[in-house]
Symmetry: C2
Subunit: 388 residues, 2 copies
């Protein structure tokens, strides 16, 4: 129990007006900067101009790669890695949501190898080196700005695979909550679900936690529940955006795990949905998570739900545990589907039963996901059916 | 509000049987290791032998400096810095409580300068370089194993001064809760108070927190309140020791501050006590903290006490805030003096009123401590009197 290595070397500048440090941080790694971003929303909010201005002011050479899509594709990674090689890039600067950040991390790794970057995923090729990456996230969701992982899709093979390596930690991340002011309701909601899911998947595991980490996880979940609705109503509420942003980083940066050997149950299932249907990750998680919790609830697991219900949702601890457990799942569903306004079933978003068997098989890799309850293909199909 | 840089590069090995990585970590920094420790308790618990064995197995050269005292003296720092210079030490390995760790950090810095290491404190001489330090803490208290600070005493001038610098972060720390099994009741209690105080001094500040950090701080405090009594009753309870140990690191490693410009009120006052009377730091904090909280309580500050009382001590939130506030101070006092069994007044530990004026003047440096309430000399004298 509780053997682990904790090491998170990411330097974070948090708050407004910290971009004045961008040039100095980039310069530590060289002259030639590859700026990566998505569809151009960073231009609309003026962030692009600010970033370019800082880069030019510092006398750095700027290269660009835009058009990185949500559920980022291996093609973008290939393109970015090639630019790094061709242009002898020294440092990458990812500005955008988790997709841009994830793709950029793998460009940085791909730049240092001779093989196709998809091999990192399909063949688990070792990630032994990567160019330095600096990030400016514009969404509170994936936590990619402060961790060493990333998820990449391959539309050809309809696969979506996540991997991590200590080489992929960003060197520096600039977390400015005002950069998330223009995130629309839908993506604010999906991001909030993603944060909740990162915590829930660690919290609900059979291994006992360090109590202190349980208190931290419960606090982080209460934070999302408190501030996501405020951010929906008042998109430029700094306090709400700041709390969501910092919580998203700490939900998945290595701290809350505390040595627990957990696997990703809902994330593994969801990656199959978005690999095939290209839906927003957080939406898939919102639909899956309450059903997964329902599926795993029994006399052996009820204790953790009781703790969740009383400490996160404030359910009266005098109520009988199984009732608290069911109520906690209901309250989580209400939060996702009523408060955050997300669709609540597969039917509503066009995910069809005919794909369940295929997706379930791939979600567990034909084996067993050792999560809160071990999940094989049949279990996952069952959970998918509950989502219809 | 909430502008900050968060950067904590310390690599932590947490848990039993991690010492097998010691040789590999030391070797990254060179061949010549200076092992520092205190009065020899690490020999009694067998840790010394294990450490020396790992060092020798890795073919490293071992040098030693023992006898570092509680409230570590500048003399030890001078001696260690000189050994580093004379023996061309590559890396320091501090094994012991916070005193050993603090002293060793300043030896590492002192080894890189030509002036007297006391200048770091008396003249604020810049800390621009330091040899690498690896730590193995044997007490859950100061958090020195995961932060960039340290406090050193100068018996000649009767001063005790704390400073920090990013150069002083340990490279690696090995946190093995079993190394704290033999810590006696008194030092377990004092260490627990130190942890609580690190959190309380950040929690009770006029600047608003990020809510998410408040939830974290409340969780960490509940953890100490839950596990310190267990560690007192069952010194070899792994779960209790593990929770205290990891909480002590996170109570003062840069995370919970979240950009708050806070000063150390109780710590500044306490450093004067232990500078003159050489008492255990945690004991001084235990006596001071409830009185300081009492002194700062008024209509403007009551809100934070209400939050503290309800979220940390579980006081009924329906009770009127000022009553909750007073009850929370009472419950904290009960925790320190009844549950942990520490002495509750200055009189009982021989601290005399005749020194109050001198100590108060030095505690605030003849100025104002900008804490939860601004404290000048007269305020501090008043608080000291409340401790009699």
């Amino acid at each position: 129990m509780n053997h682990f290595i904790y090491h998170n070397p990411v330097k974070v500048y948090f708050g407004k007006d910290q971009l004045c440090h961008l040039g100095e941080e980039l310069s530590k790694y060289g002259k030639r900067v590859l700026l990566t971003y998505g569809g151009g929303s960073i231009k609309k909010i003026g962030l692009y101009d600010k970033v370019v201005n800082e880069i030019k002011k510092s006398g750095l050479e700027l290269y660009e790669l835009s058009g990185i899509q949500p559920n980022p594709r291996i093609d973008s990674v290939r393109k970015g890695a090639q630019i790094c090689k061709d242009m002898k890039i020294d440092v990458l600067l990812a500005v955008g949501g988790g997709s841009v950040l994830d793709a950029t991390k793998y460009m940085a790794a791909g730049a240092c190898v001779d093989f196709d970057p998809w091999d990192f995923f399909s063949k688990c090729a070792p990630i032994e080196k990567a160019l330095p990456v600096i990030t400016i996230p514009t969404l509170a969701a994936t936590g990619s700005e402060m961790n060493d992982g990333g998820v990449i899709s391959n539309p050809e093979t309809k696969e979506k695979i996540g991997r991590s390596s200590p080489r992929l930690f960003p060197k520096v991340s600039f977390l400015d909550p005002t950069n998330t002011f223009t995130v629309n309701s839908y993506h604010t909601a999906c991001g909030s679900v993603d944060i909740m899911s990162h915590i829930i998947e660690v919290y609900f595991t059979p291994e006992p936690d360090l109590y202190m980490l349980d208190t931290v996880m419960e606090g982080l979940m209460r934070t999302v529940i408190k501030y996501a609705p405020i951010a929906l109503k008042e998109p430029d509420n700094y306090e709400a955006r700041a709390n969501l942003m910092w919580t998203s980083s700490w939900a998945i940066n290595g701290f809350i795990d505390g040595g627990k050997q957990h696997e990703w149950s809902c994330h593994s299932m969801e990656h199959e949905l978005s690999a095939i249907y290209d839906i927003t990750h957080g939406l898939g998680l919102a639909i899956l998570t309450p059903r997964w919790l329902e599926y795993c609830l029994d006399e052996n697991t009820v204790g953790k739900y009781y703790q969740f219900g009383t400490n996160v949702f404030g359910i009266d601890p005098k109520i009988e545990p199984m009732t608290v457990a069911r109520k906690s799942i209901d309250m989580l569903s209400e939060f996702f589907f009523d408060t955050l306004g997300l669709e609540s079933t597969f039917s509503k978003i066009g995910i069809q039963e005919e794909d369940f068997s295929f997706m379930a098989k791939r979600a567990c890799g034909g084996k067993i996901i050792k999560g809160f309850k071990p999940l094989g293909q049949k279990d996952i199909e069952e959970i998918f059916k509950m989502c219809l």
